[in-house]
């Protein structure tokens, strides 16, 4: 069987005609397999949804009880038959509940890795390499310029800045699902135990992470009891990046804007965003990790989904891995 007969791109996303299901569809479909809870991958309104328990829980938190017709939870490593196609979820190391989806039929193995990273992250299960014929990889940071340093050294920069500028509120922009909780946990693991204040958009997901046994320490809502900017003097505040350009940010004392993202590797990106303290912390692979993973998995073919496809395809060709870009639309390559 040709791989395209088992799985191919459509306008709604990757589609398996034999199993009659889509993977991470960008519009409502009959049956969806979801890799992880970020809103561009996990959308509401599908008929049936198959995902890990945690991804389903996260979708419920974000979209409400009726986020889909019916749901089915699957554990890591557990095989499920979908109309004659065997699917199996493996940890992707991206965010809590994130999975790679291995799709098998007649000995052909296609692995949709979703979004993934290789670095250690105490807030989710680590990526497991899965042997396959076709490896479908993201390329969010698919350029040789992207090298993500040790996240603890980045948190070190934050702690240094808190000492240098003890009067300023340190505002850390971090996406609400995954990045925010990972950053809070990293700060704790670096020995900072003061209260950390969070924007309202983060509270339910932080609660969920804690319910799942992930320690985040003393976190409090960054709401204002009195109109007193001094209340947040020298405090660490975590919120979605968009909130910092909003009126919401005015309650803080001389805010110093930090942003935890892989994009912060490029100075001009940080500068354009008005970021004073870039923290290069990513939930995606950097360039060396992408290359290492492809070499480790050793597929006979590589399909590249969203991100900087052309550079990764170029590298695969130079290395002798047949590769092609899928040109999927609807995934925000900005999210990290």
């Amino acid at each position: 069987m040709k791989p395209e007969a088992l799985l191919h791109p459509t306008a709604a996303g990757l589609f398996c005609p034999i199993g009659r299901f889509h993977v991470d569809p960008v519009r409502p479909v009959e049956r969806a397999l979801i890799t992880h809870g970020h809103s561009d991958h996990a959308r509401s309104g599908h008929g049936k949804v198959l995902a890990t328990r945690q991804t389903l829980d996260i979708m419920r938190i974000r979209y409400g009880e009726d986020f889909c017709g019916s749901e089915q939870a699957v554990g890591y490593g557990e095989s499920v038959d979908v109309d004659g196609v065997t699917v199996c979820f493996h940890p992707a190391g991206h965010v809590l509940g994130s999975a790679q989806i291995l799709i098998q039929r007649d000995g052909l193995r296609i692995n949709v890795s979703g979004d993934y990273k290789r670095g250690t992250d105490p807030t989710c299960a680590s990526f497991e390499p899965v042997a396959c014929d076709v490896f479908i990889t993201e390329a969010t940071f698919g350029l040789p310029v992207f090298h993500h340093p040790d996240p603890k050294s980045e948190i070190g920069k934050l702690l240094t800045s808190l000492k240098q500028f003890p009067e300023r509120s340190h505002m850390i922009g971090a996406y609400a699902l995954g990045k925010a909780q990972r950053v809070i946990r990293l700060i704790r693991d670096c020995g900072y135990h003061e209260p950390i204040y969070i924007h309202g958009a983060l509270s339910r997901l932080c609660d969920y992470y804690r319910d799942q046994g992930i320690e985040l320490g003393d976190i409090r809502p960054a709401t204002l009891e009195k109109k007193d900017p001094d209340a947040f003097k020298g405090a660490v505040v975590v919120g979605p990046p968009s909130a910092f350009q909003d009126r919401w940010a005015r309650r803080f004392n001389e805010p110093l804007i930090a942003f935890a993202s892989g994009w912060m590797m490029v100075r001009q990106r940080a500068k354009q965003g008005g970021v004073e303290l870039p923290l290069v912390i990513s939930d995606h692979c950097d360039w060396p990790e992408l290359l290492e993973t492809i070499k480790e998995v050793g597929p006979s073919e590589v399909w590249v989904t969203h991100g900087r496809e052309e550079a990764l395809v170029r590298w695969c060709e130079l290395q002798g891995f047949p590769a092609r870009p899928l040109h999927l639309v609807g995934y925000e390559d900005e999210r990290d």
Partner: protein, 541 residues
């Protein structure tokens, strides 16, 4: 190298002056000699480092990386030094520890000792031994373009903050010292005596004046002060000793080559402060010409004899810092002026004259003179304490500048952009326009941009207007409603106005700021472009 690289990374993204000062002072305090001295030199623009050509860097990176992948990377990043710094490891993980990296002083010494044929291998090896952030710092230094928004003045202020020593004292010494500034740091840290300068034939930081503000003069006795005309030229310093004659701009740039007419005429030894102008001296009874005429002579490395004939330059002397090799800066303004008068009287009369004192008995009288000066090239008066010593920097008290009233227009807000730092949640940078006749009828054309002059309370009002009346967005910029009967009128004040080929409107303002919010006016009442062009013409006349 690591400490300097970390400093640069922070400085690039820190918009506030106080934030920069804190980062700099911490760096100077925590970094050992001689590294901090080279760091200081790099920031102040006094570091001498062998230059590397971008072409060599490209060759080096292409030895390692596929050209197509390099091009994708360069297109994405947009800056060669940064692209190089980031792609150098390619598929490898960087595992350089901070301790393994060479020190800044080692890098400077190594680069400056290389023979021509050794450069390629040495740079390649160095890049291998630096982490991405240090590579960026090194490449910026070696390609000669730091551009991080730190002036030499700010670096000196940080030295002052770090040591508690007065910044004017640091300024006085500055041009007599060089990297790695070890005697300077030893003195700043109280480990040694103040360094002694070897020769006066160097640039000495100039003394600057503060603008007269509301209520400043009432507190002062006119008896204690002298006044001079403030001429609209450029401030210069002539330094002559032992046959070496130099002309410096007020920031210390050597402009000797562009003004042979002045330098050749110097027949004295010492250091003279004055205004560079074109036209004739008062002693030769010919008029002083305008700033636009002077501009013909500025920003040129060499000068043609035609230029010398058409735009003859001269210096109107204000002050004497050294008489021959004797430092007289601690003497009073009046004493120095007397000595200056002797020097100038013996100097060629067509190239040098002495700035006149303006007689006045009280501030009201001086105010009248300031508003109606006897010469169009005068832009106000200078007020100097008679007993003031010559102190580098801008001290409040001894010297004031009192300009003719700034220009004013009513303009309409067209675009707004979010600010930085404390202002990052406010729309605080405003592009404003005035009415002009265009092929499409009467239109508002942008004429300038202002981002200060208003109070915090006024900023709230401006920001609210922008958020409630946005018609279009371009990234961080918003276009706001601006129609004859709806919009926001701003009274804009500025210091001067010139013709400009770079601006579409054909005029460029100096230091525009928002003087008042004219909520009482409608956009249809705002000024017209012809008002601005008339201001330019009046200036030129």
């Amino acid at each position: 190298m690591k400490a300097f690289a970390t400093l640069l990374d922070r400085l690039v993204l820190t918009p506030s002056r106080n934030g920069k000062l804190k980062l700099l002072a911490d760096y100077f305090r925590d970094t050992p000699d001689p590294d901090r001295g080279y760091g200081l030199a790099a920031l102040a623009g006094t570091l001498d480092l062998r230059n590397i050509k971008p072409a060599l860097l490209r060759e080096l990176v292409l030895e390692k990386l596929d050209p197509v992948l390099f091009q994708y990377s360069y297109d994405y990043v947009g800056d060669l030094a940064e692209t190089m710094a980031l792609v150098w490891d390619d598929g490898e993980k960087d595992d350089t520890t901070d301790e393994e990296q060479p020190r800044l002083s080692e890098v400077v010494a190594m680069m400056n000792s290389l023979g021509r044929t050794e450069v390629r291998a040495a740079v390649r090896d160095l890049l291998d031994h630096l982490d991405p952030s240090s590579r960026f710092a090194f490449l910026k230094l070696a390609t000669g373009s730091l551009r991080i928004g730190v002036s030499a003045r700010l670096a000196k202020q940080a030295l002052s903050d770090m040591s508690g020593k007065d910044v004017t004292e640091i300024e006085t010494l500055w041009h007599g010292l060089g990297p790695p500034y070890e005697p300077l740091f030893a003195w700043l840290e109280g480990r040694a005596e103040k360094p002694v300068l070897a020769t006066p034939a160097i640039f000495h930081s100039v003394m600057l004046a503060n603008p007269v503000e509301e209520g400043d003069l009432e507190k002062l006795d006119p008896e204690d002060y002298a006044a001079e005309w403030k001429w609209d030229g450029i401030r210069v310093q002539m330094s002559s000793y032992g046959g070496t004659k130099k002309l410096y701009s007020r920031s210390g740039d050597d402009i000797t080559g562009a003004f042979p007419d002045i330098v050749d005429a110097i027949n004295f030894e010492g250091v003279v402060d004055g205004e560079l102008l074109v036209g004739g001296t008062m002693r030769s009874n010919s008029p002083t010409r305008t700033f636009s005429d002077l501009q013909q002579r500025l920003n040129r490395k060499t000068v043609t004899s035609r230029m010398l004939d058409d735009y003859p330059a001269f210096v109107r002397a204000y002050d004497l810092l050294f008489q021959s090799d004797e430092d007289i800066r601690t003497r009073s303004f009046f004493e120095r002026r007397e000595l200056l008068g002797e020097v100038i009287s013996k100097a060629p009369h067509d190239r040098f004259d002495l700035s006149d004192l303006v007689a006045f008995s009280d501030w009201q009288e001086l105010d009248r003179l300031r508003v109606n000066p006897p010469d169009p090239v005068i832009e106000g008066v200078m007020i100097k304490r008679k007993d003031s010593p010559y102190q580098a920097g801008r001290l409040k008290g001894p010297w004031f500048k009192w300009k003719r009233d700034p220009y004013n227009i009513d303009a309409v807000m067209l675009y707004a952009q979010r600010g930085h730092g404390r202002r990052s949640s406010y729309y605080s940078d405003f592009t404003f326009g005035v009415w002009s006749e265009t092929p499409d009828g009467e239109q508002l054309v942008p004429v300038g941009k202002a981002y200060f002059g208003f109070t915090d309370a006024e900023l709230e009002v401006l920001d609210k207007f922008v958020r409630d009346n946005t018609v279009e967005r371009f990234g961080p910029v918003r276009a706001v409603r601006a129609e004859p009967d709806f919009g926001f009128v701003l009274e804009v004040a500025f210091e001067g106005i010139n013709r400009s080929t770079r601006h579409k409107s054909g005029v460029a303002m100096r230091f525009p700021r928002i003087a008042r919010l004219r909520v009482d006016k409608l956009p249809r009442d705002a000024d017209r472009l012809s008002t601005l062009t008339a201001m330019v013409e009046a200036r030129e006349a």
